[in-house]
């Protein structure tokens, strides 16, 4: 009886799965076109899965192993099952492999079940709670029905009149397993993640973010430009169908693991943003309906503990943010994000939350003119004065009146163009800039500044969704830079660093950009700086998001601190897991209230590390962390620490002995 039943079951499930897949694909294809090389993507899929995805998943060994056992077991079991039981190829070898695969899957599912015993808050519940059982049902039943195939059980055992009941039960369990694993995969069950996830990896919008065999960097963090030339091209995302199809596909890949939720600073601060929920909101919107079925932590909400589910609903062609009342998400959810990329960094499914959030912000700003709080004012200032504070652009260099900074306009050609950033208008950051100038002079670097020719890089405008102002600033900056010759740009502002280095390229500006910590580390390595030993107290280092996660620079600042004789007391969250200071993405400007402030949490991290001083490398971080009242630690920029420790170089040093032992690089080489 089973022999007749199994193929029917398997092929019915497969057929249903195919129907489901077609329907799902149609959902994705509601999105806007996006050019991807489908074939190349599919070819790259195994590598993307095995290398890049597991690089992220592998941060938690336990889960990673669980997933390998379960997923690997399942894929093998599914294929073999179709062969053995579907097509009736009762080869004992295949049968044996099938037994092995299902056993591996079963072991994996035991771990999945254990994880679900007392799940952390970040995991979604609901259908996800039955997943381990379904996995077990599938693996056990496949195991059992395969036993006769390999002859471990007599063929006829399940045939006899007395055992029809047993066979029926077994068939039922098989059906359950198949239902979850095949049918559910394409009809929106938890296993959807496998189907959508695989395709998402293959057709990812940022193919550049994956490593390549040739050793590609595997980093792609710049936002993609909007086409402003074409008046018919939409400005950002108003409704789910305005996302590109592969973005929609990406949302569908979410496993609701909540790793993004766990690292999101806005969520932790009680601001109304849970990145996981946001992605699920997009899935709800894509399919149409309400979020009532969502079974994870909601978007936080002041006073309520969380925004109740079931009150928001949407459709593929309905607005995501309502003009009045509620739609799919509330605007304050989108404006809470600091664009810190912690979520993107953690997401095992390689979902691009920040892209999606900025896309939706673009619509709100460019089409609706609804940038909250000080947003409109800052954007107006950027338009009228080229800096967010509305300062007289002619006073950009006033702070340095006594420094006689060389100007690009006079020199035309230098090694290093020092990009000052808008910190030039801020008294606190001027101290950092002074320190940096002192360091550059001590190392006899050939540098110059743009002076009043410099404009805001456009970072804030872009992240507030004002692509028009961003592009206007960027194009004018690029035109200014094009007049001069320099080998590289050095800046103490990671935001300018990121924008100049990663986002101007699409608009025609290609530069070598370095953060001042990188540059100082190089100068030190080249023997051009000498430091007095550190005499201060204990120090920790805060990784700025736009330096670390955005640009992968974790080492240079630490090397500089080490060179200063400082042993960094790391905070629990540092490096790629560093917690944002709250200053990015225009978040201090939109200032969405939560139950606490992000910088307060970060200064608490500092306090827990026991450090008396926190070294930073970003004017924004400095401002945010210094704004914390009753802080336990002092906040200083790396440039300041370096400038304070500078000593005259001894004659030996001046002759140019490099500190690098392996390859003695000369200063000139470093500069190039």
């Amino acid at each position: 009886m089973l022999e007749t039943l199994l193929p029917i079951l398997i092929f019915t499930a497969l057929a249903l799965a195919v129907i489901g897949a077609v329907r799902r694909i149609r959902l994705w294809r509601q999105g806007r076109p996006s050019r991807v090389n489908l074939f190349k993507g599919l070819v790259a899929l195994p590598r993307r899965y095995l290398v890049d995805l597991h690089h992220v998943v592998g941060r938690d060994k336990m889960i990673s192993n669980t997933h390998v056992a379960t997923a690997g077991g399942f894929v093998a079991a599914a294929v073999l099952m179709i062969l053995v039981h579907g097509l009736g190829i009762a080869n004992p070898l295949l049968g044996g492999l099938l037994l092995l695969a299902s056993a591996s899957m079963f072991v994996g599912s035991l771990f999945v079940a254990r994880r679900r015993l007392n799940p952390p808050a970040r995991l979604s519940k609901g259908p996800w709670m039955r997943l381990p059982k379904s996995l077990m049902a599938f693996s056990i039943s496949v195991f059992l029905i395969t036993l006769p195939t390999v002859g471990l059980l007599p063929e006829g055992l399940l045939e006899g009149g007395s055992s029809w009941l047993l066979a029926l039960v077994l068939a039922g369990v098989v059906a359950w397993g198949l239902g979850e694993m095949f049918f559910g995969m394409t009809w929106g069950g938890p296993m959807k993640h496998a189907f959508a996830g695989a395709l998402h990896l293959a057709f990812h919008r940022r193919a550049e973010r994956f490593s390549t065999k040739k050793g590609g960097a595997g980093r792609s963090t710049g936002l993609k430009a909007l086409n402003l030339e074409d008046e018919a091209a939409p400005l950002g995302v108003e409704k789910p169908a305005d996302f590109t199809w592969n973005q929609l596909l990406g949302f569908d890949a979410c496993v609701q693991c909540g790793r993004c939720e766990a690292v999101c600073p806005a969520f932790a601060a009680g601001q109304p943003l849970n990145p996981k929920k946001l992605i699920q909101d997009m899935v709800v919107g894509m399919a149409g309906g309400s979020d009532a079925a969502y079974a994870g932590s909601p978007h936080p909400s002041q006073g309520l503990g969380g925004k109740p589910v079931g009150e928001h609903a949407g459709s593929p062609h309905g607005p995501i943010v309502a003009l009045e009342g509620k739609a799919l998400v509330d605007a304050d959810t989108l404006w809470s994000c600091t664009t810190c990329r912690a979520c993107v960094e953690e997401c095992p499914m390689m979902i691009e939350h920040v892209d999606a959030i900025v896309d939706m912000r673009r619509y709100l700003t460019l089409e609706r003119g609804k940038t909250p709080n000080k947003g409109a004012e800052v954007l107006d200032n950027l338009i009228a004065t080229d800096n967010p504070g509305g300062f007289d652009p002619g006073s950009r260099l006033n702070w340095a009146a006594d420094l006689n900074l060389p100007l690009m306009a006079d020199l035309k050609q230098v090694d290093v163009l020092l990009w000052l950033g808008d910190g030039a208008f801020d008294m606190r950051n001027q101290r950092t800039l002074r320190a940096l100038v002192k360091v550059l002079r001590a190392a006899e670097v050939d540098f110059a500044v743009l002076g009043t020719e410099e404009r805001d890089s456009g970072d804030v405008a872009r992240r507030l969704g004002d692509e028009a102002t961003f592009q206007s600033l960027a194009k004018r900056n690029i035109a200014t830079l094009a007049q001069y010759r320099f080998l590289q740009i050095v800046t103490c502002d990671p935001h300018s660093f990121h924008v100049l280095g990663n986002e101007y390229g699409e608009l025609g500006g290609h530069y070598v950009v370095r953060h001042h910590s990188t540059f100082i580390a190089e100068l030190y390595d080249a023997g051009r700086l000498t430091f007095a030993p550190w005499k201060g107290g204990s120090v920790t280092y805060h990784d700025p998001c736009y330096l670390g996660r955005y640009n992968g620079e974790y080492e240079a600042p630490r090397n500089v601190l080490k060179a200063l004789g400082i042993e960094v007391k790391e905070m629990e969250r540092s490096g790629y897991r560093s917690r944002c200071c709250g200053g990015g993405g225009g978040a201090p400007i939109t200032d969405i209230p939560g139950k606490q402030r992000i910088p307060d949490m970060r200064m608490n991290d500092v306090k827990e590390s026991g450090a008396e001083l926190v070294a930073v490398g970003c004017p924004q971080c400095t401002a945010m962390l210094e704004g914390v009242v009753d802080a336990s630690a002092e906040v200083r920029d790396i440039a300041e620490l370096v400038a304070d420790a500078l000593v005259e170089r001894s004659a030996d040093d001046v002759t140019g002995a490099s500190r690098r032992t392996t390859a003695s690089t000369t200063a000139e080489e470093v500069i190039v």
Binding site: L366, R368, G369, T371, L379, I383, A384, T385, F391, A468
Partner: protein
Amino acid sequence: MQPDLHQKQQQGIDVAVLVSIGRHPTTGRARRAEQDARGLELALAIEAELPGTRISMLHAGSQDDSSEAALRGYLGMGLESMTLLEQPEGSDAILPLVEHLAATSPQLVITGARAERGEGSGLLPYALAEHLGWPLVNSLASVEKVENGVVTLLQALPRGQRRRLKVRLPAIISVDEAAPVARQSAFGPARRATFAITTTTSEADSELAQWHLSPARKRPKRLKIVKAASARDRFKAAASKSEGKGGQVLTDVSPEQGAEAIYKLLKEEDVLR
């Protein structure tokens, strides 16, 4: 409230908003003028309150790239089009505006109190009122309701105080910094909006052409003239002057003494009522 609501349904009014090319105070770049934008904001608020209200936006001036960008700044607040009464640079804007308003006869005309460019004398709304013979109210804070051809307004007084006025329509109202801040101008709508261009009869402003214009000089700070009887008095008056660089810091004083010093300052500044 019911009848009120009912009337709202049927009673939209025609509002004309006059706008000019603004000038950013530090960079001098063209922009939407602060007060005019507030005027448009007020009109949009009326529109939201009184469905059926029609807003027409007017600008008299020349047509060029920088002024177009500034005008689009207003359009980005949510208008689909505006009327440009085209005239050469340096012409008197009053005549074409009066003609246009007389011809289109809106019930309410909203203007900013003063332009950010040119003479900026703030005479324009008064000139319109005089020519059209319509009542004018200045320094408007908000429009409360429009009913049976009468508009109820709140006029801003110093210190955030308000005065309620009833004005028979048609009327002209002018707004300054007391009116609600203008909403953000959005790029998309601004880019899509269209201009209806009308050429007008225009007269060059010959009087203005004869005046001597120069960037504003800093006004000398008024010196405190001490007319004292004796040299000793003069000296003491000069020595006891508490102004100058840096403020006065009272340390080691009793709360009463501190309070007294504050009280004196509050009195001097005349903020206690």
